[in-house]
């Protein structure tokens, strides 16, 4: 059928099918800013303006838009001139991956056109249909406020940091801030919100505590605009799917409806007979090559317990077959025509039950040889000890033991996994894929496809979030097999349901802490026992649990420590890497346990933790026993920088810690069923995997004195391209605009392990710094030649020039032209790589304020504060954005997100609709506050440590401890959903 649309002011007549969505038709016409997030519209990634009103194009038929006016973000800007809203999103740092940025910009446009002076509440409402997994909504809200102000004629704001004064340690914490905190001391620079009906205030600037140890810099440490901001705010074709391929086929995946079954037969004849179907692949026609899918360094940690297609399924959502067809509809129809004969087997979902005698054996295949005890479903047994815990317990004055349970949650990147594969002109397989680990993916997929690594090129364009789910070789083999089978380009994208049940998630764990203390409250012995549920396959199962042990037994000094862990197969969809990687589980248990110990000992919680937490110079003595690599690290690392004390003090002030024992705060006379509380959790994470994570960088100068920086590092939207560019710019004495970043292409860029383990700034950043230092030396030498200096060692680069000690200078452009064209020609360029022997911990203090309805169990989170020591924040805007977004994900983990299953192992409501898997929206957020506490980490580039994962660690225990403070009830299982809290209150006779 034909439809007539006005798109961005241009009349168009388009052909479409009656069943096609508006999103699909617009994307076919090249409007790539309208993006897929789900089939039911909840993500809002496909939002556009229909006759000036915000609407989701993924849940509208194209035919419904016939005769209407459509606006997409492609129509907003003229050339390089951005619309004020786009400009505000760029300047305010509101863009991370940028996947949903066009939708947010259009929501803002509709709002501001109707209401030039919107309140924060109105802005948050306007954004309420666009889920953001990255920013915590703070900077997008700021951007809309800023845009509205500029469009009203006000001057643009400058985005800078808000520097605060360090707080001195008081003699007693409970005396701190006696009488409350004067508003003028809170240090914030707030927007005037007008209406306060949401009772949320959004900070305009990140708060920042400066260290005097940090030298002055020009580009590093500054709130530079993201290097990819322009293309993201304009909706340019930057993501995997934003490409047109002639003759492309569409792949679809048939998944298991059973939690555990043997496939007796697959009959694909009807599917293959369907016109338009080009291939059907399954266990009968794909070679059986065992592998581990986790995107990790060579050799991948065992077990190698997966094959592309097996004759057994081990969870609902497991792979059965895949098809490639001319259209998505034909592919879907073909799936229905594949006849699978199953022998349904008993299933087990609980990690404790799976280890018991008589439990179904999940990996009983004859070629399974990597498991610790496959007959008991035990993949790994991890045992690490320092000192002797039994002796320690014998010497202890007090012993406490508690059990905790943490559940399964999904990463929910708004862009699902997607890969497009094709043969290039040299008949090499190109995989354009949404991955965090392009180099691992290439190496890992090669044997599955029977191709040498050199015949595969993996390209990672911009990706719409990953959070660990894409630290996996998850779908690239399917696409590769189908490209090989058909000779045609193939596109494959997971549906939102498949993203839940066929992708990866966070490991559930049962955790038991047993702790012995001396008479003064110092830890003398601590044992952490964990049973980790790795689901149907063992990917990341070993290393996630070792990180759990590392994080659980590193934060506090103790002479005797033991980590004992079983990693167990079950029939739930497979967990894997998820931002935080075992630490959020550990920290929930540890920080809850330490809170309870302090209270039972009658000690102040923070004094007790401070007495025991690690400080500069303390060893991380369990670390050598819990490494990821094959070889043990023999050197015991020590803490070389810590801002923890300042983080805690700043956080206490920001949350109003003194109120936690104030009856006027804790009780609400107008609402007698409400109790208020404040909780704290100390957080410590790692920075990269020592001895293993490696990043490479290559830098060359161009004719105009600009530089190409090629890195293997993978920017997920975190801003790593920007941060790495800032490091290069700082060393080379140029503005960031002179650095042209290109990343993550296995043909073009140096190797990098990928974006995980909070490694990019520290590892890849050091590689960039070293490459830049080499280039700097070459420039200095060339400047010496041009300025006729006998000694060029004292030449200094700044302001795009090389200065001799006598003040004479030559521009970098002249140096480039001289070097490339005029005399002793050579390309000024260098390559460097870096692997770190250590993993300096970032630290943080996480605080939460809650209200608990003791009649319903409903917990309402009012405020979260996180003060973070990430060393030197190379870019405080992107760093604070990481913390804001991470805190919101962590809030979901502790409060409302949950993969729930029925008795057959089917996930209940694998969707993002209200009442299903719940992600916080813009209009229901608690107040968030981020404070960056700067320290100088001597091993990091310009003093940097990690920031990406630590925000995931402390929210759940801080919420738990706040609920404890509010009600006196200890709840040792997350999430804190109303019925769980209600039942705990009932058991404690509190109502």
């Amino acid at each position: 059928m034909q439809i007539h649309l006005t798109i961005n002011g241009i009349n168009k007549t388009l052909e479409c099918q009656p069943y096609e969505t508006l999103m699909r038709v617009l994307r076919r016409e090249g409007y790539f800013s309208v993006r897929y997030g789900s089939d039911s519209g909840e993500t809002g990634a496909a939002a556009l303006l229909l006759d000036g009103v915000l609407a989701n194009a993924d849940v509208m038929l194209a035919a419904q838009a016939d005769g209407h006016h459509i606006e997409t973000v492609e129509g907003l800007s003229k050339g390089t001139m951005l619309h004020p809203i786009q400009d505000a999103f760029v300047r305010m740092g509101a863009i991370q991956s940028g996947y949903s940025t066009p939708a947010m910009i259009l929501a803002a446009k509709a709002l501001i056109e109707k209401n030039p002076n919107p309140t924060e509440a109105e802005i948050r409402d306007a954004l309420s249909g666009i889920l953001d997994r990255e920013t915590g909504y703070i900077k997008p809200v700021l951007a809309v406020l800023e845009a509205a102000a500029v469009m009203r004629g006000e001057d643009p704001s400058e985005m800078t940091t808000n520097v605060l004064t360090p707080i001195d340690l008081p003699s007693r914490d409970n005396d701190l801030f006696e009488g409350g905190i004067p508003e003028e001391d809170r240090g914030g620079d707030y927007w005037d919100m007008g209406s306060t009906d949401l009772k949320v205030r959004t900070k305009r600037l990140p708060r920042f505590i400066v260290s005097l140890q940090v030298p002055e810099t020009s580009v590093v440490g500054k709130p530079e605009i993201k290097v990819d901001a322009l293309k993201l705010t304009k909706g340019n074709p930057a993501f995997v799917d934003d490409i047109e391929m002639r003759g492309m086929l569409y792949a679809a995946l048939l998944t298991s409806p059973h939690a555990h079954a043997r496939i007796l037969d697959i009959d694909d004849s009807d599917a293959l007979a369907l016109p338009g179907v080009h291939a059907v692949i399954h266990y009968k026609n794909i070679a059986r090559v065992r592998y581990a899918s986790g995107g990790q360094s060579y050799p991948n940690p065992k077990p190698y317990d997966q094959v592309s297609f097996d004759n057994k399924v081990r969870h609902v959502g497991d792979r059965v077959a895949a098809v490639a067809a001319e259209t998505p509809e034909i592919a879907a129809e073909a799936l229905k025509r594949i006849r699978v004969t199953y022998d349904i087997l008993p299933a087990v979902y609980d990690e404790n039950e799976a280890m018991q005698p008589g439990a179904p054996v999940i990996h009983d295949e004859p070629d399974m040889s990597d498991a610790y005890d496959a007959q008991r479903n035990i993949v790994h047994h991890i045992h690490a000890q320092v000192g002797n815990v039994e002796t320690g317990f014998e010497q202890a004055r007090h012993i406490f033991e508690q059990s905790f349970y943490v559940h399964q949650v999904q990463q929910v990147p708004i862009e699902p996994h997607i890969c497009i594969g094709y043969w290039d002109a040299d008949e090499r397989l190109v995989l354009r894929t949404s991955t965090q680990v392009p180099f691992h993916a290439r190496r890992m997929v090669a044997p599955l496809l029977g191709l040498p690594v050199k015949r595969i090129r993996v390209i990672k364009p911009r990706i719409g979030g990953g959070f660990g789910a894409k630290q996996e070789m998850l779908i690239e083999d399917i696409v590769g097999h189908l490209v090989i089978a058909t000779g045609r380009p193939v596109r494959f994208e997971l549906t939102r349901e498949q993203e839940f049940i066929s992708s990866r998630s966070r490991h559930p764990q049962t955790i038991v802490f047993k702790t012995g203390l001396d008479a003064n409250g110092k830890l003398v012995s601590q044992k952490m026992s964990v049973i980790g549920n790795t689901g149907a396959y063992g990917t990341h199962g070993l290393t996630v649990q070792t990180v759990t042990g590392m994080r659980g037994l590193s934060s506090y000094n103790c002479p005797n420590k033991l980590f004992d862990c079983y990693v167990v197969y079950t029939n739930i969809p497979t967990p894997g890497a998820y931002r935080g990687y075992g630490a959020p589980q550990a920290l929930f248990a540890l920080e809850s346990h330490m809170e309870d110990i302090a209270i039972q000992l009658g000690m102040d919680v923070i004094e007790f933790k401070r007495l025991n937490w690690v400080k500069v110079g303390d060893p991380l003595d369990i670390a050598p026993h819990l490494g990821e690599g094959e070889a043990e690290i023999t050197i015991i690392p020590t803490i070389r920088s810590s801002g923890l004390e300042q983080c805690v003090l700043q956080g206490m002030q920001a949350i109003g810690w003194q109120r936690r024992h104030d009856p006027n705060f804790r009780l609400d006379p107008a609402r007698p069923h409400i109790r208020r509380g404040i909780g704290f959790a100390m957080c410590m994470h790692g920075t990269a995997i020592p001895g293993l994570d490696m990043g490479g960088a290559s830098i060359k100068i161009n004719d105009d004195g600009s530089f190409n920086v090629l890195v293997g590092a993978t920017d997920l939207g975190t801003g790593s391209d920007t941060v790495l560019g800032q490091i290069a710019a700082e060393v080379l004495g140029v503005p960031l605009q002179d650095i042209l970043m290109y990343s993550s292409d296995t043909d073009m860029t140096p190797f990098d392990t990928g974006a995980y383990a909070s490694s990019t700034t520290y590892i890849s950043g050091t590689a960039v710094m070293r490459a830049a230092e080499q280039v700097r030396e070459q420039i200095k030498e060339r400047a010496g030649l041009m300025l006729k200096l006998n000694d060029w060692s004292n030449v200094v680069l700044r302001d795009r020039r090389a200065f001799a000690p006598d003040g004479r200078f030559v521009s970098l452009q002249d140096i480039a032209l001289h070097s490339l064209h005029q005399q002793d020609q050579r390309q000024i360029m260098a390559t460097a790589s870096y692997v770190s022997p250590e993993s300096p911990p970032p630290f943080a203090g996480q605080f939460a304020e809650v209200e608990v309805d003791i009649e319903t169990g409903q917990v309402t989170v009012k405020k979260l504060v996180m003060a973070v020591d990430c060393g030197v924040a190379i870019n405080p805007i992107t760093a604070s954005g990481q913390v804001e977004g991470g805190m919101v994900q962590a809030l979901g983990y502790g409060h409302c997100e949950e993969m729930a299953y029925d008795e057959h192992g089917r996930m209940v409501k694998p969707e993002l609709s209200a009442g299903a898997y719940k992600i916080y929206r813009a209009d229901e957020m608690p107040e968030l506050e981020v404070i960056l506490v700067q320290t100088m980490e001597p091993s990091g580039p310009f003093g940097a440590k990690a920031v990406a994962e630590i925000p995931k660690d402390g929210v759940a225990p801080a919420l738990r401890n706040a609920i404890y403070n509010a009600t006196g009830v200890q709840i040792n299982r997350i999430p804190f959903t109303p019925e769980r809290v209600f039942n705990a209150l009932q058991e404690a006779n509190i109502s």
């Binding site: 009656p18 609407a55 989701n56 419904q64 729930a900």
Partner: protein
């Protein structure tokens, strides 16, 4: 799969199309998620061209034509504040733009606080078939919905907005769909209407004394026992609020 799209200009034409095939679905808003599309559907009738976008006030009675969007209803000056809050809480802004009064009726949600609010406002649904128009209370419409919608189209909902409305709910987060919600209205004559969502396959009107007898189905957000207890607690709260 949808093979034909129809956009009739009149209600009569829409009804003719509807009765022509049992494989026809009605698009009564901008989103296909409210149309009950499944593999059996191969044609859709889009009502967008037939009008029905007005809100009429007759004293304390408001008649909401079927294609009034939730956002339009929320923004309407005469919509009572409490009702406005319930409408606001029903959906995100984007979906409030896309969903209509009729959307609530085509795929009613067991946990819809807004449908519960309509019930306490004595909502009467006007349904038109080729044989004529009938009006029936919302509760009866919900009970007969499947049969009615196979041959007729809801064209308006009339509600009584006098009196005082109170609502309370329990949810995982402030904007999440309530696990259980209670909505009550005290009429100008002092009569009480109480409705609950989340305790039955559809939101229900219920006498305050019967609340203890509800037997909800449970799910992962709330067991049967929990939902029942919440029905009692939240009913008490809204009734207390009305005095």
């Amino acid at each position: 799969m949808i093979t034909a799209y129809h956009r009739p200009d009149t209600l009569e034409a829409a009804l003719q199309l509807l009765t022509r095939s049992r494989k026809m679905a009605v698009l009564a808003g901008k989103t296909i998620t409210d149309a009950g599309l499944d593999d059996s559907i191969d044609e859709v009738v889009d009502l967008q061209a037939i009008g029905l976008r007005q809100i009429h006030e007759h004293g304390t009675q408001h008649t909401l034509e079927a294609l009034v969007t939730l956002q339009t209803w929320r923004d309407h000056a005469a919509t009572p504040a409490a009702l406005r809050d319930v409408i606001h809480a029903e959906d995100s802004f984007t979906f409030r733009n896309m969903r209509t009064i009729a959307s609530l009726l085509y795929v009613p949600d067991a946990e819809s606080q807004l449908v519960a609010a309509l019930l306490v406002c004595d909502a009467v649904v006007q349904v038109t078939a080729s044989t004529g128009t009938q009006s029936l209370p919302l509760a009866r419409f919900l009970a007969q919905r499947v049969a009615l919608l196979s041959t007729s189209i809801p064209t308006a909902v009339t509600i009584e907005v006098s009196g005082t409305i109170a609502f309370a709910n329990v949810a995982r987060t402030p904007a999440d769909k309530p696990i259980v919600a209670a909505v009550a209205r005290k009429t100008v004559l002092g009569e009480i209407r109480l409705a609950l969502s989340g305790v039955a396959p559809m939101p229900i009107l219920i006498a305050p004394n019967d609340v203890e007898n509800v037997k909800p189905a449970g799910d992962f957000r709330g067991s049967s026992a929990y939902r029942r207890q919440m029905a009692i607690t939240l009913s008490r709260r809204v009734l207390d609020a009305l005095g």
